[in-house]
Amino acid sequence: MNLTSHLLLMALFAGCVAVVGAVLLKDTLRQQARSAAEIFGSLVGAALVLGWILYFLPI
């Protein structure tokens, strides 16, 4: 599979985890949609923030 964009793969992973997590945690469709958006945003946001922090570290 020629799917090598790290950002896209990260978003795909976050999307899958968000859907499963939201369906597990919430019961109504509205709550699930909101929860999935929160989980997705948190995962992608945290990855971007950590990525920038690591960028400045001399590793």
Binding site: M1, L3, T4, H6, L9, L12, F13, C16, V17, V19, V20, G21, V23, L24, D27, T28
Partner: protein, 146 residues
């Protein structure tokens, strides 16, 4: 003999009862079905929408992990992290055994997407474990029907 005074206290409201257990399904079968078929436990307990979401999403994550050159780790007691990853892989249930039978999941460490593939494979198994725990709660009546 004086008649006993009747109590004027209002009747105490009944305590909220937990949701009824789902028709007393055998827990061991809920676990087994939920493990082998992701979402199978929910489907059997009548939570069809949730069950179908898990049935689609978890095998999809597993197959994506394989397509991204991820590896199905062996049980290696000498390397605890590899052993833990193997346990997580097995958590995916039937997709894991099908992949093993087909001989896929060898992993390609030189692939750009190798680590992503591993993340998908391991997470699919761990999420299925959470799904089984959720099915357990439903079977015991700890979660109310929405």
């Amino acid at each position: 003999m004086a008649a006993r005074p009747t109590s004027k206290r209002p009747a105490r409201p009944a305590a909220p009862s937990p949701a009824a257990p789902s028709a007393a399904k055998p827990l061991a079968l809920v676990y087994l079905l939920g493990w082998l078929i992701p979402g199978g436990g929910h489907l059997w307990l009548g939570r069809t929408t949730k069950g179908f979401v898990f049935l689609v999403m978890l095998p999809l994550m597993f197959v994506t992990g394989l397509a991204l050159d991820g590896r199905l780790f062996p049980f290696s007691l000498g390397d605890p992290l590899v052993a833990l990853a193997a346990v997580a892989n097995v958590g995916a249930g039937l997709p894991y055994f099908i992949a093993q039978a087909l001989g896929v999941g060898a992993g390609r460490a030189l692939s750009v997407t190798y680590e992503y593939g591993n993340a998908f494979l391991i997470t699919a198994g761990l999420l299925n474990a959470l799904v089984i725990i959720d099915a357990h709660d439903i079977a015991l009546g700890r979660k109310e029907q929405p």
